[in-house]
């Protein structure tokens, strides 16, 4: 599903974010990426959405070499991925319904499909009574649940979550992770980058520990937060 072959990323200030990274993630896995700040977790996720291009190496996602992807094909790649961010990245000018609808619109869904699917997604994340609310009228937990609803609405093959619990209290954090696990049960690959020890330990699935742009530990089953 996802393959990194000898991937290196060096930022403009000569900071080496990824240093010859090799990694494979299979379809349907739930992977927690852990490691100290600057270990390269977010860079890894940004390479998968092709916000960044590596200086060296090959990245294959769902059989596609990302380096060979044209700007015109980029939206099609991103429609295979659902993104969840620490800062939610919701569209502030759109209400809850419209935020989710947008992800469907870009995939070419009809108005009827949007009207049918969006309320279901809002119900799954427990926001069915807040369809008209704008992001600034919602709590942190609600915003993140809305972001998850947006990430799953178009039934992506992969969900990438970058510190999704970073701005949430423990209760909301568990809610978010439970949602991600539920999505994973339907066969969606989930990659979760986090600093949250309790969350990682409670998930108990594959845990990849990164440091200085390399994989230093890969616990394939019953993984624990170890850095």
């Amino acid at each position: 599903m996802i393959e990194f072959k000898n991937v290196s990323t060096i930022y403009d200030n000569d900071f080496i974010a990824l240093d010859g990274l090799n990694l494979e993630i299979k379809q349907g896995e739930f992977v927690s990426l852990v490691g100290p700040s600057g270990a390269g977790k977010s860079t890894l996720l940004r390479l998968l959405t092709r916000e960044l291009i590596p200086n060296k190496g090959v990245i294959i996602l769902d059989g596609v070499d990302l380096a060979k992807l044209s700007m015109n094909d980029l939206p099609f790649l991103r429609r295979k991925i659902g993104m969840v961010f620490q800062d939610f990245k919701l569209l502030s000018n759109k209400n809850a319904f419209e935020n989710i609808a947008f992800a469907l619109e870009v995939c070419g869904a009809t108005k009827e499909e949007i009207d049918a699917d969006v309320p279901k997604a809002l119900t799954i994340v427990g926001l069915n009574d807040k369809t008209e609310r704008f992001p600034h009228q919602m709590s942190g937990g609600e915003k993140q649940r809305l972001a998850i609803a947006r990430a799953l609405i178009h039934r992506p093959k992969i969900i990438l979550a970058d510190e999704p619990t970073g701005n949430l209290d423990l209760v909301n954090s568990y809610d978010v992770v439970k949602l991600l696990m539920k999505i994973n049960e339907f066969g969606t690959t989930v990659v979760l980058a986090t600093h949250n020890r309790e969350i990682v330990n409670s998930v108990g699935r594959r845990v990849i520990t990164m440091e200085s742009g390399r994989v230093v530990k890969d616990q394939t089953e019953q993984g624990k937060y170890i850095i």
């Binding site: 939206p75 099609f76 429609r79 108005k111 178009h154």
Partner: protein
């Protein structure tokens, strides 16, 4: 296709309404720009009227010797009329000239008495020549000098009028050249002001655009509603400008006419109301949409 267009227009309109402060500010700036544009149209009209009035007043007369036969004069008239520079040639016979003189001085008893005592008509037959442009009189005078019937021509008053003609020509060229430069300079200012205003408006939504890109929005899917939004700024600004411009013309028109009676400002803009309104709306919509198009490009590179 229809559903997609509807979505684009609906989203553009919703954004326009929701960003009400930004929309108001941008529309306000565009009203100023379009008012300046309308003002330029009015100034161009006034200056072109002044120039054409001046040009109408300029002509050249060819006076013929008394022994010139009428068919010779008409031959010269025909020759002149065959020139592309010549707009119109009017033949004034000796009798006609005498009649015109009498009419002109009908109230002057002394002149009337003098005319009555004359044994023969002292006035000369003449041709009055109007050119298409004032710069063409010199070549018309040259043509007459070369004419085979030059011998029956007594004098060509171009040489007496030459200075006046050259001054009119100078004013005409000045207004044309400087008017063009001023119009272009102001148009450039207008485009830059609009572009920068819309760029700031879109810069404000930079993060939104990047998010749309990250959730898989294609360039056009993201861009199109912004183009509609830009077009809406222009359309509203155009409507407000038209609504302000006509009262201003109604107010200014009598004052301009008092100074320059040949300039019918209100009449001109009323006759051309559809063309004027269409032009202002078109310029507004294009300025808004094109500015949005250019401004949004750099944020779509994510």
């Amino acid at each position: 296709m229809k559903a997609s267009l509807k979505r684009i227009f609906d989203t553009g309109w919703t954004n326009f309404k929701r960003n009400s402060y930004l929309s108001l500010g941008t529309t306000g700036v565009m009203v100023l720009v379009l008012s300046m544009f309308s003002g330029l149209l009015a100034v161009n009209y006034i200056s072109s009227r002044i120039v054409s009035t001046l040009q109408d007043k300029v002509d050249v007369s060819v006076y013929f010797k008394n022994e010139a036969k009428e068919e010779e004069i008409l031959q010269v008239k025909n020759d002149l009329e065959s020139l592309s520079q010549v707009k119109v040639v009017t033949y004034i016979s000796k009798d006609q000239a005498f009649e015109d003189f009498k009419q002109k001085h009908a109230g002057d008893a002394l002149i009337q008495e003098s005319l009555a005592e004359l044994e023969s008509n002292p006035l000369q037959a003449s041709l009055n020549v109007k050119a298409n442009e004032s710069s063409q009189y010199a070549s018309i005078a040259g043509f007459l000098e070369e004419n085979k019937l030059r011998s029956v021509v007594d004098k060509i008053n171009f040489y007496e009028n030459e200075q006046v003609i050259k001054r009119v020509e100078g004013i005409y060229r000045g207004i044309q050249n400087w008017g063009f430069i001023a119009t272009m300079a102001l148009a450039l200012v207008a485009v830059l002001v609009t572009f920068n205003t819309i760029r700031l408006t879109i810069y404000n939504q930079k993060q939104e655009i990047e998010i749309m890109r990250l959730v898989g929005g294609s360039s056009w899917h993201i861009k199109a509603p912004y183009l509609v939004e830009g077009g809406l700024y222009g359309a509203f600004a155009g409507l407000i400008t038209i609504a302000m411009f006509y009262p201003a013309v109604i107010f200014a028109s009598p004052k301009v006419e008092a100074l320059m009676p040949e300039v019918g400002l209100l009449g001109y803009f009323l006759t051309n109301i559809l063309q004027f309104a269409g032009l202002v709306l078109l310029v507004g919509i294009l300025l808004g949409a094109v500015s949005s198009f250019v401004a949004i490009r750099r944020f779509l590179k994510v």
